[in-house]
């Protein structure tokens, strides 16, 4: 059995919510959510859903409200208005049930640099109540899958930026979530590292049925078959399949559609932008 097979086998008994219609429920539902920092409105009555086993891109410029939305979904901030559900579990009222189905990769690095790769994973596993022996097995599996098994004992500080990101994704998958959030996960990485990570995440969707919400400001990270949500100045301007969003906006591609919808000049398309 290869490492990938082993990881997939571990996913065969998937934890999903104990609701009758759980399979049909959206992986993530955002309904009428607003959030403000004092007088400044970061999110204004936004709503969209992420379907199970889908890759949904959340496209928006810096400052659009993506990170605020992620903080609300992960309950780092309290929800001021509206509802957020993860497989039918309300984040505000059943945070434990909701968060155990969720894996997150935040925009800033959240690894402990002074601990080793394995120690970071074991710590994360403990925070999800996963017993040490099981955590060690899972750690080996996810490290093999991301090609970091030979760095298991290395200090995180000694990893490259791309390796750290891969480790963060592996960590987010350790407790076998059904929904994965990634907030600008490729920022600061070179072209190859970006492509590797994006491919890896897309494989998670197709091979393991994990639902993904991928926040980005880079157009070239969005595939033609993806679901797309465009967030601009705290509002959802468009959502649907990429082709549909482009057609509705009257653009020829995502770039022109985005410009038509937002009135902004191109921001994405290259990693440096």
């Amino acid at each position: 059995m290869t490492a990938t097979d082993a990881f997939s086998a571990g996913q065969n008994t998937q934890d999903i919510p104990s609701r009758p219609a759980a399979a049909e429920m959206p992986a993530l539902s955002i309904d009428g959510v607003s959030h403000s920092y004092g007088a400044r409105h970061a999110l204004i009555d936004i709503g969209f859903t992420v379907a199970p086993a889908s890759f949904t891109a959340l496209l928006g410029l810096n400052g659009a409200g993506k990170s605020t939305l992620f903080s609300l979904i992960t309950r780092l901030f309290g929800i001021q208005r509206g509802h957020i559900g993860i497989f039918g579990h309300d984040v505000a009222h059943a945070p434990g049930e909701a968060l155990r189905l969720l894996g997150v990769v935040f925009q800033p690095r959240t690894l402990d640099l002074d601990l080793s790769v394995t120690q970071n994973l074991l710590y994360h596993a403990a925070l999800h109540g996963i017993a040490r022996r099981d955590a060690r097995v899972r750690s080996r599996e996810v490290l093999a899958r991301i090609g970091l098994d030979d760095r298991a004992g290395s200090k995180v500080r000694d990893l490259s930026g791309g390796q750290m990101r891969r480790l963060e994704i592996a960590r987010a998958l350790l407790h076998r979530p059904r929904l994965l959030l990634l907030d600008e996960a490729t920022v600061g990485l070179d072209v190859k590292a970006r492509a590797d990570i994006l491919n890896h995440v897309r494989q998670l969707v197709t091979e393991q049925g994990i639902s993904v919400l991928w926040a980005t400001h880079l157009f070239d990270e969005i595939g033609s078959n993806d679901d797309l949500v465009i967030l601009h100045q705290g509002r959802v301007l468009a959502q649907g399949k990429v082709a549909q969003v482009i057609a509705d906006a009257g653009g020829s591609d995502i770039n022109t559609a985005f410009m038509r919808l937002t009135g902004s000049t191109a921001q994405g398309g290259s990693p440096s932008s």
Binding site: S18, Y37, S67, G78, E97, P108, T110, L115, Y123
Partner: protein, 283 residues
């Protein structure tokens, strides 16, 4: 593919084993971080030892001590200040823990903890227990060195002081956690030294008995009397000699609960006392 998988309904809530696993993991991580920071361990020991070896030696001849409970005979000044120095170790450790929480928050590590599905009050309590465990290591290392300096409480005192140290460690850790919730940047933490640690330590019975302070300044006496750190020191002092100071126990216990509730509320996303904004560069 997802269609090929077996659906197993998730259990509601968490088992006791999962809670214990989480507690174990947080304590383990704190211990690892402490061991990686050897300078922190050394400085945690050097600070009270400087007070013991230099300050106390100088003040021994200046400051006369009458026989006061729990002591049954005249004692050296070094013996008197030892419980205060033990509490000082815990005070600095509590503030150090809160400093590391601010650092973790700035660096993003704190998110790893806070997005755990286990209840937030439990996670913060684990963090407190972990910090207290680290402070116990430091206090017992100090007691070991102090023993060579002829500061030797009754052998049973090393055990009877343990619950008092746990409680005072929790109180000071909870205070640090509460303070950390209100500090937005690491740079602001210097103020904690000036406005929390020094006043708490000096306006207490750590260095001089309260009756001495009453003789010199009644107002300062009341400041010391209402200082929770004074009661932490007295709780430790009595416990070290196998006795119980009930007033100190009540004050330290009450303050521990108050500070913990305050910290948990402050870190609660829906009821947080601190209105949080986005981290730098995010929106």
């Amino acid at each position: 593919m997802i269609s090929a998988t077996t659906i197993r309904p998730i259990r509601s809530g968490f088992s006791l084993t999962q809670y214990l696993t989480c507690l174990n993991g947080i304590v383990w991580r704190e211990a690892l971080r402490f061991l990686h920071q050897r300078e922190r361990f050394v400085s945690a020991l050097v600070r009270p030892l400087v007070w013991l070896f230099i300050f106390a030696a100088g003040f021994r001849q200046v400051l006369g001590l009458s026989i006061i409970p729990p002591y049954e005979t005249y004692i050296l000044y070094e013996v008197y200040i030892a419980p205060g120095l033990m509490a000082m170790i815990q005070l600095f450790n509590g503030m150090q823990s809160s400093l590391s929480m601010v650092y973790d928050r700035e660096m993003g590590n704190m998110r790893t903890l806070l997005v755990s599905p286990l209840p937030r009050w439990f996670l913060l309590s684990c963090k407190l227990l972990a910090g207290t465990a680290v402070s116990l290591l430091q206090v017992y290392a100090f007691l070991l060195i102090a023993w060579f300096w002829d500061i030797a409480p009754p052998p049973a005192g090393y055990l009877t002081v343990l619950p008092a140290l746990v409680l005072s460690g929790l109180m000071l850790g909870a205070l640090g956690m509460l303070i950390s919730s209100g500090i937005k940047q690491l740079e602001n933490f210097a103020g904690v030294m000036n406005f929390v640690i020094f006043p708490m330590f000096f306006a207490s019975s750590a260095l001089y008995p309260l009756w001495r302070i009453l003789e010199s300044s009644p107002m300062l006496y009341y400041v010391c009397l209402f200082n929770p750190f004074t009661h932490a020191v007295e709780l430790i002092r009595f416990a070290l000699y196998g006795q119980m100071n009930w007033i100190a126990l009540a004050v330290v216990g009450g303050c521990t609960i108050a500070f913990m509730v305050g910290a948990i509320l402050a870190y609660d996303p829906s009821r947080g006392l601190i209105r949080r904004g986005p981290a730098g560069g995010e929106a």
